[in-house]
Subunit: 378 residues, 4 copies
């Protein structure tokens, strides 16, 4: 499917949504509907991998509950004409604040993998964060999409290996480097283990120099602290990273105000407030609960992206009212990818955006700046 | 069925309720019982339309939960003789504080549509708010009812079109104009969409000059902000509206204290604290949670009506104890309408009123003024 | 069954409970177990009458939830030898603080009706409050029991009719008069109505001069406020009542601190903090939530009895730690009555008392005075 | 099975967990998984005894809920190399802070009883607290294990009988005396009673001089307060105990800050904050809720062990962040014992330890000292 094809299909689908005819099944009118459909089309083990969370999944559940319990206090009778959802960031304009979070191994969900997601992103003018664990080459993804792309970097255990990836991302036109800092260990996911999930042999992290095997420490040293954990980045690596690239550098996974302050002091360009969708650590604070304190200790317009648990456009309004610059969604667009490839990705973004716009209008907000002035009750 | 007939039937039903014989099924002794019966008699898609709420229905659920979690602290050993449920408003006396909220397209629920509801209202001396989307002519509804009628106005996109409706309402004897301000978009209702609900071809908004189609903005402009949302009223329209009619003007859907203050300053005569029964916006504050702050910023006896989620007379007591002047119910009387037409509407009002009176007595309150002094704990 | 017989059976049952043999079914080891058994042996409509609550039963549920959510902070390593559960009240000593609340129409549950309950009370040295709606004569009940009896008075609509009952109670040796003040209307109980419950023709309030029919007010007057509610007592009646009897006068149903203060000022001898087991008013504060404020405004040792929702001896500890003088149970002993008559009543009291004593020991308390010093967290 | 055998099996199992082959069933990857398996392999009455709690099990449930509702606020980008889980206590070093709580009658769960548990403890360098109600001789248990052993003392009703046990423990090399102070009565466990659970005749408390029968007080004295409760220790016994042994003395079951302060003043060496796993008293504060206040009134490094409700390594992190020195688990290792004997015990400890280490890394903690600085939200 060409990109123009996706855009054309999206235009038709969008018009369809307004006139009663749609290119895709009429019952797919929300992220929860896509979620149900994705569960039906994916093999059970892949579904367990996609939908599951760490250990007892208390954080997975808390992420959802946190957004659902918030209440917005709408304003009335405001002028809405001329309204829009645009935002400015680092000198660029983005059409809307619902972006695609990095998701690994998208070949699990659709044969076109990240290429399809990037096409869907392009069709909806949606920035996409491409994972280090993509199954397609960074350069190919960039070539298939008109979307702004950011590169998500898992620290490669050394500065040299990390830098090689950064240089490729820069050359391919990626517009920011996002260092994930919340996953020295990828998480203990019970549901996934119970399902017997295994990565298929042809599901390769094609952008990485080496297989991500677990390192074996020297005898007498600790298998985790001196093994896997020793490959994780530290603050000094962030300083080094800033010195190596002129692209904006963003940290993904910051939740503690002191870490946010340190990042600002080191010149980090933005933060993604995230608990990795509840996939990595169980018992972790939710981004919703963390956000107000982070906004309180960072400069007024400092970029704070919110990731984890958003399933509705109304929840995007809540996140922005709490102080987020924009939000990122992960599983939602993968549901779309699994169900309908690039078109599904684009449709999911469009659905969330429509929910966002409708909720903005219902709250009397003609701009994201107005949204940020809304009162929200916990 | 003539109005006298309804009143007679109500009198017989009411006597029946006290002596053991009833004109209608004995198990219909509460709003929840009517709700269950209505679900049984209505086609599934119409039931989904009636009972469903916006998106994930978190606000629909929160509305109910908010009333159920409140606790009244009753007073004892008060003189109850001579007690009543009357209230004075704008020089008129009303028998009780349980009024009928505007509900569109009542032909969906009963062949006699708004005529039946108005008959039931008349039989129980209950003010009824007639929707802009009524399926019967304003004038015919007024002719069929002895109830006080208020006209609910959806802004018609222009002052001229809106004024035409107001003039008709004035001529037909409607006693107040209620401008709905919470629905620049009517809401994204998943349950309703999943049901395949469609308005039948003969279910017409007979009072409106034009079909309420979605306007198409000029190319390059935003389909919602410069389309549908551009038809919504703004504060200047409220000022204009006040200048055009000598009837009291009420705003329906105010939830933010600043909006309440502005309404008071502009001379608006009363407010309906409502989130539209959870049908329009998901993630919205409940009227119960909003009411105390609105009462705090408005004059002592300023009319604040409470709408959304009330299903019991005991909850009417809670609403008044929190500061409401009167409450409005929507779905409850439509359940009655669906089950038994005018008689059902009247019976539902009567049941709620009996629950109100019994709870007042149990709380030591012989008047609504006493109710407003009650302590209520959240 | 003679009283001695019940006492003997109780002694055997109690010894059985400690040695492994019991006179009654071994699985009846708690109030919840008796509750399940009572549901099995009673006709469904009588079960609905017994177990149901007002309207949506939110208060019925809140009563239970309130006790379950409290947490006691136990003390350790205290001397327990010589411990007991005795309390002094108005110059008399009572063996334990778990008393029998007034329950109407006990013939519904057992052929021996109040006589059996009074026997069970006597066998366990448990004060029993006898309802105005007893199906056995006050004098006969007194003759069948060695328990301290209090007379529960529903105001009889006039001072003369009320006084006649009081005089009979005094003559029969009742030791206190308990005026119920929370039921100008007996409550709207949906579950009971749905069950089709009707009092059997031979289930008579044999102590009352007239049938408790609903009075019909004069035309044009309010059917409730000028009818049933006009029969309810007022504060002046309390003053009169105090002047007519030398017995202690207790008010049942006080929940508001201001009412408690007024009662103290009028010389009322004690209060039962109760919401009538959630049977009368839905949406009412729970006694647990009300108790601390009532204790705060009454003299230190002023008798405050706690009624509604207690199902465990551990919850008796919680109630006393919050400030109660003693507790009353209603449905629990009726479960015992329904299952095994007098023996069942005695066994239920014994089970609760054992749970109380065990919990006292676990909290380091050798007396009820020590219990009242315990810390309890909400 | 020899100890070396268990250690070898554990090493193989541990390597297996990392390479994809395991000596035990692959689905046993968490305590909840072991719990489910244990229920499948144990007779229902023994399962009821093991898993059940006091009365209505509200405290049993609250224990779990308390840990699940806490949220950790992780730190990022910290150096993890060289990290470990060691702690120092009374001059000794322990490898990790997940210890084995005392559990009675382990023959119920596995033929090798406490010998197997002690082997599993030894294989994982885990301190084990041996119950007074062990089914194997203290000396034999010590001979079968390389683990540090502490002796849990139920007061034997007299100082002489208690001292005899202490002397045996000292001689056998036990390293601390743990006096349980929360069980003057062992609890009223409904689920256990409903199951018909009885100790088998050959399930003997082989270390005790006499059968733990219920003492019969003199006639006229209270069966509990002057009977069983009279055998419980008091503060003076603690003073005496400290004077009799040079081993550290620990009190198990302290929950009130005033008791903690008294213990510190009397020279008690440490406290186990525990509600006995919800088995003894229903309606008791959870250790999680109690811990912060106890930490606040005790010296900074005073040993406070946390017992009750821990099922995940992430919850160990929470407990230490709240102020615990180490945690103890009871039922979890018994699940392992029931499923796979010594190997199961060792595997359960290993699973919890891996979860602990992974969560530490995810929180940026390379030591338990760092864990104790973490922010945790309730």
């Amino acid at each position: 499917m060409t990109q123009g094809g996706v855009e054309g299909a999206m235009t038709r689908a969008k018009e369809g949504a307004m006139t009663g005819t749609m290119a895709i099944a009429a019952h797919l009118f929300s992220v929860p509907a896509y979620e149900q459909e994705a569960q039906a089309v994916l093999p059970p083990a892949i579904w367990a991998y996609l939908s599951g969370g760490a250990m007892s999944e208390t954080t997975l559940g808390a992420n959802r509950e946190s957004w659902e319990r918030l209440q917005l206090v709408p304003r009335r009778l405001q002028a809405l004409t001329g309204g829009h959802t645009r935002l400015e960031l680092w000198g660029k304009t983005y059409e809307h604040p619902i972006w695609l979070a990095p998701v690994a191994h998208q070949q699990l969900f659709h044969a076109e993998a990240e290429l399809a997601s990037a096409q869907g992103a392009g069709a909806t003018q949606t920035p996409m964060l491409v994972s280090s664990f993509a199954n397609r080459r960074l350069e190919d993804i960039a070539a298939h999409s008109s979307a702004p792309l950011w590169f998500q970097l898992y620290w490669q255990g050394s500065r040299a290996a990390s830098l090689a990836l950064i240089r490729r991302a820069e050359s391919a036109g990626y517009q920011a480097i996002v260092l994930t800092v919340d996953a020295p260990h990828m998480g203990i996911r019970d549901r996934e283990r119970a399902s017997g999930f295994q990565l298929a042999a042809d599901c390769l992290a094609v952008n990485l120099e080496y297989s991500p095997i677990r390192p074996v420490p020297e005898p007498g040293r600790h298998p985790l602290f001196d093994g896997l954990f020793a490959l994780a980045p530290v603050w000094e690596d962030v300083v080094w990273l800033k010195s190596q690239t002129s692209l904006p550098v963003v940290l993904k996974g910051i939740l503690h105000p002191a870490d946010a302050q340190q990042a600002v002091q080191l010149g980090v360009d933005g933060l993604i407030v995230s608990n990795h969708g509840g996939r990595v650590m169980d018992g972790c604070i939710t981004p919703m609960d963390a956000l107000p304190a982070l906004r309180a200790v960072t400069p007024e317009l400092y970029p704070l992206f919110l990731d984890s648990g958003i399933r509705r456009g109304s929840e995007v309004v809540k996140a922005l009212a709490l102080g987020a610059t924009a939000v990122m969604v992960g599983r939602p667009y993968v549901y779309g990818l699994a169900v309908a490839g690039a078109l599904g990705v684009a449709h999911v973004v469009q659905l969330l955006r429509e929910e966002l716009e409708v909720t903005m209008g219902q709250c009397g907000c003609a701009s994201l700046q107005a949204v940020r002035q809304l009162t929200v009750l916990d």
